[in-house]
Amino acid sequence: MKLKTKFLLSAAAVSSAFVSSAVLAQASEQFIGLPSYRVGAYAAGGSGIYGGWIDYMQLINEKEGGVNGVKLTWEECETEYNNARGVECYERLKSKGASGNSVFQPLSTGITYSVLDKVAQDKIPMVTIGYGRTDAADGRVFPWVFPMVTTYWSQNTAKIKFIGQKEGGMDKLKGKKIVNIYHDSAYGKETIPLLDAQAAKYGFTVIHIPVSHPGNEQQSQWLRVRQEKPDWVILRGWGVMNPTAIKAAAKVGFPREKMVGVWWSGAEEDTVPAGAAAKGFIAAGFNVAGANYPVIKDIQENVYKKNKGNMEDKNRIGSVYYNRGVVHGIITVEAIRTAQAKFGKGKVMNGEQMRWGFENLAIDSKRLKELGAEGFMPDLKVSCADHEGSGKVKFQQWDGKEWKVLTDWVDADKELVRPMIEESAAKYAKEKNITPRDCSKEG
């Protein structure tokens, strides 16, 4: 009987918690739901990115009193990087605040796929910065999804361009050998067709070597690398696979200066565990590391001095993940600004208006300078057809202590990528019976 009372009590607690979770609508507050993850294997990424993002929104609230007077509010929901939990968070957050959730950014490709159909029905824009579904860059088929800044395919062409630069010109790539070490998953495989297309175009050979999840054992793969003696190695890894690969490269004597990683292998969390072996390792990134940018100093000044910062470990401010979170913040806030400029300054934007804001987002270098983020992230111009908006990356090199920027923004090979995106999106449209929008009619 005792247990039964306990059950009843806990049932009562459940129902009261759900009732109290109904948030009262606030008049001039823009709500942003944050499906964050701060536990589990990917907690380092989640806490850094969501921390930076929250800090930037706090900065806007502290310094400017919100966006044209509209305060930003947010609430976190723990997804544990799990698809089912992500869907629950999406549903929980979607109708909170005065006009519902403004934007959904799950930082997980799996959750992106899980809510892909739902965002269009519920009219909530989904922004996936540097992950998610690549062909969603075709905004005619995916009006509600924005794989912004750059996709894996664009990034990959930029990488080959970078290698070309290092070799002294794209024509010098002929006869070169590149090994693509990839995480054996949907994520890792995504760039294979593109690399093959580029290999045919520039006349280099490419060898794809898979590493099965989680990738903490790569001896055989790197022995193969030693046999093949490639000129470059592309590392398409994530998580524990990255430091393992770097250490294994050191063991077989492959120069780290010839290893180029994707942005999910280019954070402090990837290089520090590899120790001295990581020195010289290069990675692409659509944001740079470092705390010397005015926007980061602003956050230190206006948020952390007032003790309102989100990061527990203040040393991580200025790290790759943290700065990527600030990029998320900038894009979100600028989209609210763009939407307000059209639909009324000082008003709360709903999902449809936010979507317009993202679709017409333009952050040029002048605006970046005003934001204190010059060189911090690439300039961005989104349009109805192009939901990617930029495609530029910088290459950074680990000097043993921190990431040092190697290049200016390197552009993607749009002529190669765009037809592939359109082809893939058209296939999706056909499967789902979607008629692509006519972009000339969009206002």
């Binding site: 109290s20 701060r38 929901c77 869907v87 796929y113 899980s114 995504e190 893939s424 296939k427």
Partner: protein, 355 residues
Amino acid sequence: MLYREAGQFKTTYAADQQIFPIRQDRIGLALLLAIAFVAVPLFASEYWLKAILMPFLVFSLAALGLNILTGYAGQLSLGSAAFMAVGAFAAYNFMLRVDGMPLLVAFALGGLAAALVGVAFGLPSLRIKGFYLAVATLAAQFFIVWILTKVSWFSNYSSSGVITAQDMEIFGYRFDSPESRYLLVLAIVAVMALMAKNMVRGSVGRAWMAVRDMDVAAEVIGIRIMYTKLLAFAVSSFYCGVAGALYAYAYLGTVEPEGFNLDLSFKILFMIIIGGVGSISGAFLGSAFIVLLPIFLDVLVQDVFAGVFSPSIASNLQLMVFGGLIIFFLIVEPHGLARLWQIAKEKLRLWPFPH
């Protein structure tokens, strides 16, 4: 009081052998079904239908499948998520490649495909038992997810390896609204749960339990071990396959092979351990515990204790409390929540004169 059986006489064998011999149970279940089929779609919010009840029902079905295999037939399996993946991808391909394929038939065929794969991976169970069999099913888990990623035919050559479920339509009616989807899933789960209940109390279930309790003795009394074990694998995988198809079609819409990873298999295993191994209601109770409790804890921490803890402590605290509760319930009743209910019921039947 509640369970007073005075006056309930059973005059026929049929009355004695029905699923719920006690009248109160029958009324209770009828009420529960009435609430689930009528009251819930009328009153529950979209959030409850889409984010809480749907995963609860889908995972209940998967747990039911695993419970048939592990709980009744005694074959430990770590491949439930992979069989779900087979069901989802098979249903998708049947819908894609066969013109005019009816939805429910596609689900059933998805389940059958999973059953075939289940039988194939169940073959080692004829020679190996216990933890060794778990390792063999672990191979199924990795192999199936790998092959679904590797062979892009399964995902219709999608560059990212994901499948997007087609629209759900039965006799021209489109299942778009959360209510209709919920009812469809609920109906399938209810029918399959009834079938499972009847299977386990019939000769098939008895054979499974005999094999579970002692396979040599079962063989001696004339039960065909190979047939029985493989049947358990087939039925279990069928349930998991249908659950996978529902997961893809009714719940998420777009799924990737990675979504059906080992973590999910473990989760389903934990559901039956917490809920009750070898019990139909245990699958539902366990699914409720594993799916709903973390969400409840998150709501509690984010809303009720908002601002009390720093975000990372709040997130880690949930995991700690969740783990603590699992251990608490297992200490209180190692046989799971279903057993807890059974004990409560027995006490109630004797009340107020317990011996």
